[in-house]
């Protein structure tokens, strides 16, 4: 922070253009506040340590089941997430108030940003108010991990997809690749910006605790457990309350399957979830890379032949 203030004073030219002074405001307005959050780095270190110390992985990965019919939009999960990950936070009352206010954050559809790993959105579906939490889905075959050209993402055995800021180059291809628009960037850091995203509270999981957002939810909208069991539970809920739920579990096979699963009273499209793909988008780029390699192998003898011929012809020409 010191460094930046110094530089700001030093190069006051942007002030003349009316940018410098406004940038602080925009930074918060647009939600790119550079927080230098250590949450992602910390989780990565825990992951590395666990990898070294040959622990016995338990059977099956974990997940969270979000029930949109139960979420009341209190935004306490946002508060708890900020609190646990040491992101910029406000008193919990400010969050809880939103759903009663007129010009609240719910007026706009939001997405996670640097310093806010999760957000709750409000949808109005035919007069029915539905609140939907948004965070990383912790895909089973994550597009972000496949897209990163330095391999900065890993899917852990436990199911959490975590990010390693120590190798990230900042190309932001992971943000292009993620079908849920989750990774966010610290655009306002000139030297050491990083991608930030929900960690599924990997650091809590390995200690046997449930994610912070799940722990704080008093409306029973979030449940943590083994993904397989959550799927069974979800289908049981649907079977028991056919009028309450849309008869599908989102994330069972969407985009190759996700660790976070969603139940909804209306089709998922209406609550802002992307639909239409049952396999991971990473499949397409993988196929492409395979095809390119095949073509390159097929082309090389032809090219060697052409080059060889050109060489000998050239020799003749010069004689």
């Amino acid at each position: 922070m010191k460094r930046r203030d110094f530089l700001k004073g030093f190069l006051s030219l942007p002030g003349i253009l009316g940018i410098g002074s406004a940038s602080k405001f925009i930074e918060e307005e647009r939600g790119f506040k550079t927080t230098h959050t250590q949450a992602n780095a910390k989780n990565w270190e825990i992951y590395l340590k666990r990898k070294e110390s040959k622990y016995e992985p338990k059977e099956g990965s974990y997940g969270v089941l979000f029930d949109a019919t139960k979420c009341i939009g209190c935004r306490r999960c946002e508060w708890a997430c900020n609190e646990w990950n040491k992101n910029p936070n406000q008193p919990i009352e400010n969050f809880e108030r939103s759903r009663f206010e007129i010009n609240s954050v719910f007026e706009k559809i939001r997405r996670p940003s640097a310093g806010a790993f999760t957000v709750v959105n409000r949808f109005d579906v035919d007069g029915k108010v539905i609140y939907v939490k948004k965070q990383c889905m912790h895909c089973l075959d994550p597009a972000c991990a496949s897209s990163c050209f330095v391999g900065a993402f890993t899917r852990t055995e436990e199911g959490a997809v975590i990010y390693n800021p120590t190798v990230c180059v900042g190309c932001r291809y992971c943000m292009v690749a993620c079908p849920f628009d989750i990774p966010a960037y610290e655009y306002y850091d000139p030297l050491t910006p990083q991608v930030t995203k929900c960690t599924m509270c990997f650091d809590r999981m390995v200690e046997g605790k449930v994610p912070a957002c799940v722990a704080v939810c008093s409306a029973d909208a979030l449940k943590f457990g083994k993904r397989e069991e959550l799927l069974k539970l979800a289908y049981k809920l649907i079977a028991d309350n056919p009028h309450r739920y849309y008869p599908k579990v989102y994330g069972e096979d969407d985009f190759g399957g996700t660790s976070w699963l969603y139940l909804s009273p209306v089709p998922f499209k209406r609550i802002g979830l992307p639909t239409g793909l049952k396999n991971s988008p990473a499949v397409y780029t993988r196929n492409y890379l395979f095809a390119v390699k095949v073509l390159e192998i097929l082309a090389s003898p032809v090219l060697v032949y052409l080059a060889y011929k050109a060489m000998s012809k050239k020799g003749k020409d010069e004689e």
Binding site: L7, K8, L11, P14, I19, G20, S23, I26, E27, R30, G31, F32, T34, R111, A114, A145, S146, S147, C148, F149, V150, G151, V167, C168, V169, G170, C171, R172, Y173, M175, V176, P179, D181, A184, Y185, Y187, Y188, D189, P190, L191, T192, P193, G276, L277, P281, A282, Y284, T285, R286, Y288, L289, V292, E296, A299, L303, L306, A307, A310, M311, K314
Partner: protein, 398 residues
Amino acid sequence: MEKFDLKGFKQKLLLAPDFKSYVFGLFTPWNVIAGIILLFGFYAMVYRLIFGLGPATNLNNDYPWGLWIAFDILAGIALAAPGLTLGTVVYLFRLKDYKSFARPAILSSLLGYVFAVIALLFDLGRYYRVFYPIVWSWGLESVLFLVGWHFFLYIIICVVEWFPSFFEWLGQERLRNFFSSLGIWATAFGVIIAGGHQSALGALFLIAPTKLHPLWYSPLLPLFFLITAVLGGMAVVVIESSITHRYFKHQLKRFDQKAFDKKTLGLGKALAVVLTLYLLLKGLDLFHQEKLHYISLSSTYGVFFVLEHLLFGVIPMILLLWAVKEEKPFWVRVLSFWIALGIIVNRLTVCLIAYNWYIPWSQKYYPSWMEVALSLSMVVLIILSTRFMIRRLPILSD
């Protein structure tokens, strides 16, 4: 080896008797315009480095890639394909007619790539880590990894192909001949490398099937990008040769306007064939993937798609066929400009408009003035360095 003559070398470099007259010679109107653009560009660069991407650009979480990727990389690299097309035709297939086009083609590829990578450095959040994917942290599954490696290798190839004219200029016969014979192998290898990454630039978007508008998303994206890069390469050769033949006529020993026009027409023919092929594949994609219903007057994207392909596809194709048949080299030149512009429009559309098509238009990205200034100054730098080299190195006179 001859003794190094410093004064002679200085004159060779400055093309003026001394430094002072060189500096005074720089003040021409065009140079002043270029200088002003560069001034803004350099300001943008410094500003980006000190304050970061956020204040300098309009990038945001919904649009992680902006003008620098869309214009400087996606469009820039496609238009830097002359080396791929002309280099191959001349050095591998030994089409002697086009020999005089080869050196300028290689020069424009080299400069195009170098400045694209320079622009990329400003876009990377942690530019000082740009060598990570090359040296020690490999994301083998990533298309961008392939792009990074292929850029790296292709710049080396371009340098090898360019060395003969460089060493000729320095008067180093032996090195010149050595790189001349190495050049053929570099070209052969270059076909694989260039073909690989030109298609890979399109393949980058294969991973975003739900985020790119269905009219532009296609399993054929890599092929579309490759074909349009071939188009771009040829179009740039026509553009560049028509400019250089006009302003550097004195460097061409035996300039024959008729022969030159004939070659331009030949390139026009090739352009028409490739463009037709491209449009046929586009049509196939539209029908086969059942996307026709997206084209309707009520959808902005549908209208945009039709306009793009009419203005920059069908119309230039018809005009090209006419120009070639009626032997009108002037129109081939004009249409080459048009096609190059079309490729820029296509890349900007895919990366900035069709991408994230589900967010409201009011939240769409548009570049900040600093992004525009930096991109423009890269163009200016390419033009200036091309001129710098053509004036000195034996690029045209070979």
